[in-house]
């Protein structure tokens, strides 16, 4: 798998979440994703960026255009140095929330992506990677 483009965006405010959505949309169009797939990855990115902001106390997202053979994909990595997640299974469960949200962010983002990976260390931070392939 090769990476043909990489950019890093900050997630430090509500306005940054809006900018992440706009950038992800542009990259999704660039790799030729259809409208429904664009909407899915942008929505997943919005959920994860908000998690980074609200639970991770801010962080960054790395957006990459990746290629495996003839397939192109968009891979997004959300990383924070926040408090981390003690029980990932619980955090992935729909309706579970510690922050007053709807508790759909992680589970929802997973359903909207072709690939989903999460690592978290309490006290160190959280990294969530998603990808959507054309």
């Amino acid at each position: 798998m090769t990476i043909s483009k990489t950019e890093t965006l900050p997630v430090r405010s509500g306005d940054d979440v809006v900018r992440v959505r706009q950038r992800v949309r542009a990259l999704a169009i660039e790799i030729g994703l259809g409208l429904v797939d664009q909407t899915k990855i942008v929505t997943a990115a919005s959920e994860l960026a908000r998690n980074t902001l609200d639970y991770g106390k801010g962080g960054d997202v790395r957006a990459e255009i990746v290629q495996a053979g003839l397939r192109k994909g968009l891979r997004l990595t959300f990383e924070d140095q926040g408090p981390g997640i003690a029980d990932i299974d619980q955090a992935m469960t729909d309706r579970f929330t510690t922050g007053g949200g709807m508790g759909l962010g992680l589970g929802g983002a997973k359903r909207l992506s072709s690939e989903f990976h999460i690592e978290s260390t309490p006290g160190t931070g959280t990294r969530v990677t998603i990808a959507r392939w054309k």
């Binding site: 306005d15 942008v42 919005s46 908000r50 759909l104 909207l112």
Partner: protein, 133 residues
Amino acid sequence: MDRIPILKLGGALIVTIQVDMHDRLALALEEDLTAMIARTGARGVLIEISALEIVDSFIGRMLVSIAAVSRVLDAETVVVGMRPAVAITLVELGLELTGIKTALNVERGMSLIQARLLEDDEGHGSHRDDFED
């Protein structure tokens, strides 16, 4: 600060969301709508979202919250104009718009609210319009 304009048409309030919602704007809209329902005695709130490219759980929560507060003030919320790609994504995300009526477009949404206003007219002699300012 930016605000989303709210129009009054008969017993309904109409809001068109044309911009990418951020936190402050969402909170301001909720406050403005609540104040306006209380002031005008509106029976319906129509929220038109055809310009929204996504509805995530943040916006979903805002819509659910507006609908809940409106209901306490005896007004019904109808969300109209959702894009098909947004609807598909919303279902996959697992977001349920609890307490919100949806309609395909403004015309159908307004007829839901009109039906409610008609019931009032036929009803129990309580004329909320008397209290309008």
